[in-house]
């Protein structure tokens, strides 16, 4: 059924939105262990995917907002299609 596809899409959006904050939460612990174990200069620090944690984690807010917006828009598109289908049915 088509409903399954939409549910899958929603689940994927949800997963995408929630996996990033989880990664952000685990990040400070790792950072602190690096700081305490070795006094290495910043240049030799292990490389991390820090893009989503920059600027006070504003990117997480953007991801969440985009998820909500996409969810609402998918709902609207779905409703649009359903009404279109009804219109075609009634015309016949």
């Amino acid at each position: 059924m088509k409903m399954h596809k939409w549910l899958l899409m929603l689940l994927l959006t949800w997963a995408a939105a929630f996996s990033t904050p989880a990664a952000a939460q685990s990040a400070p612990e790792q950072m602190s262990t690096v700081e305490f174990s070795s006094q290495a200069p910043a240049a030799s620090q292990p490389e991390m995917a820090d893009v989503m944690r920059q600027d006070g984690k504003i990117y997480i807010v953007v991801v969440v907002l985009v998820s909500v917006l996409l969810g609402v828009l998918f709902y609207l598109i779905n409703l649009d299609k359903k009404i279109g289908r009804l219109e075609r049915e009634l015309r016949q």
Partner: protein
């Protein structure tokens, strides 16, 4: 997905508003701080409301000139979506005001005037609900809708400017001048206004089609 161009445009502009609106550089202002970004979400609610209510009043006039049920349906659905945008505008405004002006409601002339404007439109919905006869309902509420819109414009755009208001661009000043809105804000603000307005029109479009379907269904049944 098969969608018309303007619906794709709506989606693209909304995503642009959220992403660029959150990440772009904005002027560093005292008190406002980062809340200046509310300009992309609070103000477009009012712009959207005005455009959608204008659609409503245009279809009310069209109904009076040519009494088709479709004209009445569009006027009614547009008024409802316009009211939704107005309520969202008031709520977002109160949230913003709490942290910049200090109070949710500080009896600012523009706050009071917009509340009165919304009450006038709530009365439109009540008026509609109080008729049994379809034609009578459509005709009288169309006339009322014209008066409601004619009252809303001075309430929002003229009366608050005659006194001192906490809102920018009031108390004798023009709305948007070079001091209020710099080019970085404009680059997101104008697309945001178009995006939210188009979203509202999309909602009106859907609700109208649904209502037309419903009416045709009952005619056939």
């Amino acid at each position: 997905m098969k969608l018309t161009l303007w619906k794709w445009l709506t989606i693209a502009l909304l995503l642009y508003t959220v992403v660029v609106g959150m990440l772009s550089e904005v002027p560093r202002l005292a008190i406002l701080n980062e809340t200046i970004r509310n300009l992309y979400f609070h103000v477009p609610m009012w712009f959207g409301m005005i455009v959608i209510l204008l659609v409503s009043v245009v279809y009310s006039i069209k109904y009076l000139r040519n009494p088709l049920t479709r004209n009445d349906i569009i006027a009614h659905e547009a008024a409802k979506v316009g009211i939704l945008f107005g309520v969202l505008g008031i709520v977002t405004g109160m949230e913003w005001a709490r942290f910049t002006w200090g109070e949710y409601w500080s009896n600012d002339p523009k706050q009071n005037a917009s509340a009165i404007g919304l009450l006038i439109y709530f009365a439109y919905l009540i008026l509609r609900g109080s008729f049994q006869d379809h034609q009578q309902r459509a005709r009288i509420s169309a006339v009322y809708n014209i008066f409601a819109f004619a009252a809303l414009i001075p309430l929002l755009f003229i009366l608050p400017r005659l006194t001192d208001s906490l809102h920018p661009g009031n108390g004798g000043n023009p709305g948007f001048n070079s001091y209020d809105l710099d080019s970085r804000l404009r680059a997101v603000f104008y697309p945001a206004v178009i995006a939210w307005t188009l979203l509202g029109i999309w909602m009106v479009h859907l609700r109208t089609r649904l209502e037309v379907l419903k009416q045709r269904f009952y005619e056939n049944a």
